[in-house]
């Protein structure tokens, strides 16, 4: 390509080499170094006057250095009179901080977007933003490319029997991503969700485990125990969250019958398992007709909640509804302590619900235990936080979940917290693809994998994400987890060679084709929409 310069930051040289190779270009000469006091120095050693400049920079273990290097490179290109400057960020730094997560937290993704504009970009190219609304933070055009076609093609060519697999989201917020891939592959989908357990004192077998099905003998059971997750739900992904909070009344209903878990599960399997039918056949029918008639008695006493549910369901778009009809209610729950699934009769880690509810408040982390002597302002801060929590969990959109999934990770690390983990959807004997946009900490992945294997009896588990950040030793921990068979990521984010070598489960897909094509099309002014389409093969 003529009059194009591709600059590489120091974070991910191999990716840039691959991109350049595909474009038949060579990396533009630049000298990147750090002064001894830690300041970044950039020196561009080729003319860029009136050329299209692309600066490729991913993240690294020193992400702030990567950002500064990118900003300084852009600034240098600007002062070197480049015609246009495009920042190519396979992984957009700070993309997880796209909203005010806590009181007085910063919207750092917006800050980074603004910093890029200030440094002088005209255009940005990125892959699978954690929250797609982040595009709106830029005053400049942003191409948010998707790795999904790549992942879909990999699944089709490398996974034997993928047609019978189930795509699982490990948190409610990721459902959009998961349904999108499920759509593309015409697969069923499931959902794993965790909720902090609030009823620790009487948290034993009865209310921690809950199974239901539309078809089988325990149908009548459901009617008597008036359980909202089964009957009333038009909106599958949300229901599990109500579940733990309402468990005590349900416990009384189920307790006496007390069927062992496996037995129950088998029973249901004998009947026609709902998820084995194709959900797609009926997707055209209007939502109201999907409510099975037997649900009507169930709504007694939950009329308010039902109304709310229906109202919310209306807001969901069609693709969500399509999957959340009456079939998606194979609900299985388990107990999660220290990030691992435990037996139902395992002891609860702490008896106090009080410390449960405040343990993750920021105030306490700062060394100010706020249990006593609360001043009025602090207590209002606390009450709003805890009142906010359940609602937060119910939120279904992608960007809502961004914060939630991170909170989950924090919760897993807290040994004092016990979680209820819920699996919606039937994965028995199937291959499971657990999908999210990035793998950083591994707690929620391992928990989800253990749930689908130990609780849902899945045959094989693939953990699939676009960005493999693998903070701390999470790759090694996932490698050690028996429930995970394969880990699939793309090379948007650099992974140390020795870690890759040490991992037998890790599969890395190459996105250089996608990025180089985006660069080429941008330079020639061609449409990039084709890059969003799935491969036809």
């Amino acid at each position: 390509m003529r009059r194009v310069k591709i600059f590489s930051g120091s974070s991910h040289p191999f990716l840039v080499e691959a991109i350049c190779e595909r474009l038949g270009a060579s990396k533009a000469k630049v000298d990147l170094k750090k002064f001894s006091n830690g300041e970044t120095s950039v020196s561009i050693e080729t003319s860029i006057r009136d050329q299209d400049v692309f600066v490729v920079q991913s993240g690294s273990s020193n992400i702030n250095d990567s950002i500064m290097e990118l900003l300084i490179l852009i600034s240098a290109c600007k002062s070197g009179s480049a015609k246009s400057i495009t920042a190519v960020m396979p992984y957009f730094p700070y993309s997880r901080q796209s909203k005010k997560k806590s009181h007085r937290g910063a919207i750092t993704a917006s800050l980074v977007a603004n910093l890029l504009s200030v440094a002088g970009i005209h255009h940005a190219i990125t892959v699978d933003l954690h929250a797609p609304p982040t595009q709106g933070f830029f005053g400049k055009p942003v191409d948010n490319l998707h790795a999904e076609p790549l992942i879909a093609r990999w699944i089709k060519t490398h996974v034997k029997g993928w047609q019978e697999a189930v795509v699982v989201s490990k948190n409610p917020g990721g459902t959009k991503r998961v349904t999108s891939l499920a759509d593309a592959l015409k697969l069923n989908f499931g959902l794993v969700t965790t909720a902090r357990r609030r009823t620790a004192p009487h948290g034993s077998l009865e209310n921690s485990m809950f199974l239901s099905g539309l078809n089988s003998s325990n149908h009548s059971l459901e009617n008597t125990d008036t359980s909202p997750p089964n009957g009333t739900v038009t909106d599958g992904p949300r229901s599990p969250h109500r579940h733990p909070q309402r468990s005590p009344p349900q416990a009384n209903g189920i307790g006496p019958t007390s069927v062992p878990y496996r037995h129950l599960n088998n029973n249901r399997e004998l009947g026609s398992s709902p998820l084995t039918q194709s959900t797609r056949l009926e997707s055209g029918s209007p939502p109201t007709t999907r409510l099975p008639p037997y649900n009507e008695p169930v709504t007694n006493g939950y009329a308010g909640a039902l109304g709310l549910d229906e109202e919310k369901a209306e807001d969901e778009d069609d693709s969500g509804d399509e999957y959340t009809d009456e079939r998606a209610r194979d609900v299985i729950t388990g107990r999660l302590i220290h990030g691992h699934i435990v037996d139902d009769d395992a002891p609860s880690p702490i008896p106090s619900t009080m410390s449960n509810s405040i343990a993750t408040l920021p105030g306490e982390v700062m060394g100010h235990p706020q249990t006593d002597g609360l001043d009025p302002m602090t207590s209002s801060f606390m009450s709003t936080t805890s009142a906010f929590q359940p609602d937060h969990g119910l939120g279904g959109s992608v960007h809502d979940a961004a914060g939630q999934s991170d909170d989950e990770e924090a919760g897993f690390k807290n040994p004092e917290l016990e979680h209820t983990i819920t699996l919606v959807g039937n994965v028995r004997g199937k291959i499971v693809f657990i999908i999210d946009d990035l793998i950083d900490q591994c707690g929620s992945w391992i928990a989800a994998a253990e749930t689908v294997v130990k609780r849902g009896d899945a045959r094989k588990v693939y953990c699939i994400a676009t960005h493999g950040i693998f903070g701390d030793d999470s790759l090694e921990q996932m490698e050690a987890c028996d429930c995970i068979d394969h880990i699939v990521v793309t090379n948007t984010y650099p992974i140390a060679a020795e870690r890759v070598k040490a991992s037998r489960k890790l599969v890395i897909l190459d996105v250089s084709n996608l990025l180089s094509e985006a660069i080429r099309r941008n330079h020639y002014g061609e449409s990039i929409s084709a890059l969003f389409q799935h491969y036809l093969d």
């Binding site: 002064f35 006091n37 600034s75 007085r104 937290g105």
Partner: protein
């Protein structure tokens, strides 16, 4: 309700200085929780309300962690802005990237300007800094910048610790002549200058000395001591020209790289006096030549005056009583 007092926030860069400033102002530092991921992404939460408050964000830069500290500062400012602070003042005792202030070669970035625009973009309303490498950096901002001087405080130290009868002020490079002559004038001392030819940043080659130094105590004045190559070569050169001892007074003691090794090896240099604009991170324990001047009174006074809408110009020539 806004308390109408100063809210002082600080990051992880220089807690000691923040404590000194807060004590001087007689206030508590505001609660802030700043965490770093395994890949160094910073996530922070301000622990108390800053709505409609006059917020001062103090952040220095740790040598070796400049980019982390700068990002933390930007995120703190942004968090205050998002939390509806009335006014945000960044207190940056050592301005990062101050030396990249001009296009000194083809296609060089003017990073000091980039930093200025980044700070503005993050939402800062006012900047307080100290001994900018080039005063022109003030012009990179479209908001008011107070460039304070450590000079009055340094003068106090010099008067207390150096025999001024037989002393000479020396500037180790042509760029610092103005700073050195100002001190020479205030102390009524003679003045000398060393001219150095720099080939690459942080490396120096030939030097020439102008001025009479033999038999005197030379006081080397500079704005920063980074790798200390300049200081040590200058001190050795002064010793060759017959000075009795060489004392160096600098504002920003960055002391990165093998600065400590060089200082310990340099017999000509008897003292290195730095201020606490930059955290020493325990380097003073490794080198007994290092003496520390506390400039927190100046910073605290500048914050107080800015908050109350009083004039700051008094601080340009006077050190507040410690």
């Amino acid at each position: 309700m806004a308390t109408n007092s100063i809210k002082l926030l600080t990051g992880n860069s220089h807690p000691d200085l923040a404590k000194l400033v807060a004590d001087r102002l007689g206030i508590e530092q505001s609660q802030i929780l700043s965490l770093q991921d395994s890949n160094h992404e910073i996530s922070l939460t301000i622990g108390e309300s800053v709505r409609d408050e006059d917020v001062f964000v103090l952040q220095s830069t740790r040598p070796g962690n400049v980019n982390d500290d700068l990002m933390e500062l930007l995120i703190m400012i942004r968090a205050c802005k998002d939390a509806s602070a009335r006014r945000i003042t960044a207190v940056i005792p050592s301005y990062p990237y101050a030396r990249q202030d001009k296009k000194d070669r083809s296609r060089a970035p003017i990073t000091a300007k980039l930093v200025a625009r980044m700070l503005e973009m993050a939402g800062v309303n006012h900047v307080i800094t100290m001994d900018l490498h080039a005063s022109q950096i003030q012009g990179f901002f479209n908001i008011p910048v107070d460039n304070l001087y450590a000079e009055p405080t340094s003068l106090t130290w010099i008067r207390e610790h150096v025999n001024l009868d037989q002393a000479v002020i020396v500037s180790p490079d042509a760029g610092g002549v103005k700073r050195a002559t100002s001190i020479a004038g205030r102390l009524d001392l003679p003045f000398a200058v060393i001219h150095k030819e720099r080939t690459r940043p942080n490396e120096i080659s030939r030097m020439t000395l102008t001025g009479e130094v033999s038999g005197k105590t030379a006081i080397l004045i500079d704005d920063m001591a980074d790798t200390c190559g300049t200081l040590c070569t200058a001190a050795e050169m002064l010793a060759e020209h017959g000075t009795t001892q060489v004392v160096s007074v600098v504002t920003h003691g960055i002391l990165s790289g093998d600065a400590i090794k060089k200082l310990n090896a340099c017999t000509a240099l008897s003292r290195v006096v730095v201020t606490n604009t930059v955290p020493l991170l325990g380097k003073d324990a490794m080198c007994d030549k290092i003496a520390l001047i506390d400039i927190s009174p100046t910073l605290a006074e500048a914050c107080r005056r800015t908050h109350n809408g009083e004039s700051v110009s008094y601080l340009f020539s006077n050190a507040p009583p410690s």
